[in-house]
Symmetry: C2
Subunit: 191 residues, 2 copies
């Protein structure tokens, strides 16, 4: 995406702004964070912030989009051929692994101060990567099938959120396994 390598100064500036912002985001919501604060913490001139971002929301969205792009690429890089269910499990595990690897960022993005749009973006990515599998061989109507897909992804993301909030105590494989099991067989799978 980023066509050319950036000037070291730019990279540095963006990094400190980003870090300062994420630090603040751990404390409160974006809406309560001012440009002034970010710059004070990052030790960067306010005009410099405006040279790179429109406002704190723009910054947040860039961070979010970067995350979504990364995870999307991460999934695209993997070949999920094989039995449908095995492939799905592999994909789910891989997502969980990515989350675990990027824990510090995920904690704020999925946490109390993250915004709803990010979650929607994340869901959409997962949706796109699992669509083909879920639509194959269903006897549900098209509309039902869509609702089911939304249900499953909504549930999956909810679980990942809880997993992150709880400190990532289970392994990625465990979480993925549970999610997939419930997604396929429902809560009855545990009765």
């Amino acid at each position: 995406m980023e066509g050319k390598k950036l000037d070291r100064r730019v990279r540095y500036t963006k990094m400190v702004i980003r870090d300062a912002f994420i630090g603040l985001l751990a404390e409160r919501a974006v809406a309560k964070i001012t440009v002034k604060e970010i710059c004070l913490r990052a030790d960067v001139n306010r005009a410099t912030f405006y040279a790179h971002y429109r406002d704190p929301f723009d910054l947040l969205h860039q961070i979010e989009d970067g995350f979504v792009e990364d995870i999307s690429r991460y999934l695209a890089d993997t070949d999920f051929t094989g039995v449908e269910e095995e492939a799905s499990l592999a994909a789910a595990t891989r997502i969980c692994e990515y989350v675990k690897q990027n824990a510090p960022l995920c904690i704020v993005l999925f946490g109390q101060n993250g915004d709803a749009r990010f979650l929607d973006k994340a869901k959409e990515i997962i949706r796109l990567h699992s669509l083909k599998d879920w639509f194959a061989g269903t006897r549900a109507t098209k509309r039902e099938a869509e609702y089911i897909l939304h249900f499953v992804i909504g549930g999956a993301v909810e679980v990942i959120q809880r997993w992150v909030a709880g400190g990532l105590r289970e392994s990625p494989a465990e979480v993925a396994g549970l999610v997939l099991k419930v997604a396929v067989s429902g809560s009855a799978a545990y009765r």
Copy 2:
């Protein structure tokens, strides 16, 4: 909750402020809405706004909490004795009915400009009303059971969100039925 009857003037003022705010919320997120705008639209003095609310977030949270309280009371008023699954279906249907009855408000609260915390509150309410049922007779560990519950509620709310966003085309009973079916038997129920 509201102990005493309010002065007519107060009721009127709160109503116009609320309406003006919801109108604005249909256009953009809370963070982008100013007190000034709300007052201009509501034709109310700015000082009057501050007499009732700290800021637009406070207003939003009051609206959200009112919604959650209402739905909570709505559920509490209903007796859900009977077969576990029947009772769950009745509760789910009732929630969907409530949403449909309050469609204009739900569209903004569940919509693009709603905040993540509201969804969390809503999920928590549903959780509290379904906890007893889901924890009964499971062979899952406690931790697994909690994840499953979160999964199901996350999925259910996701479906309701889509249902609202899509214009409430299905009946409450249909939506509730689909949600419950997937929750219990998973996507495999439709294979």
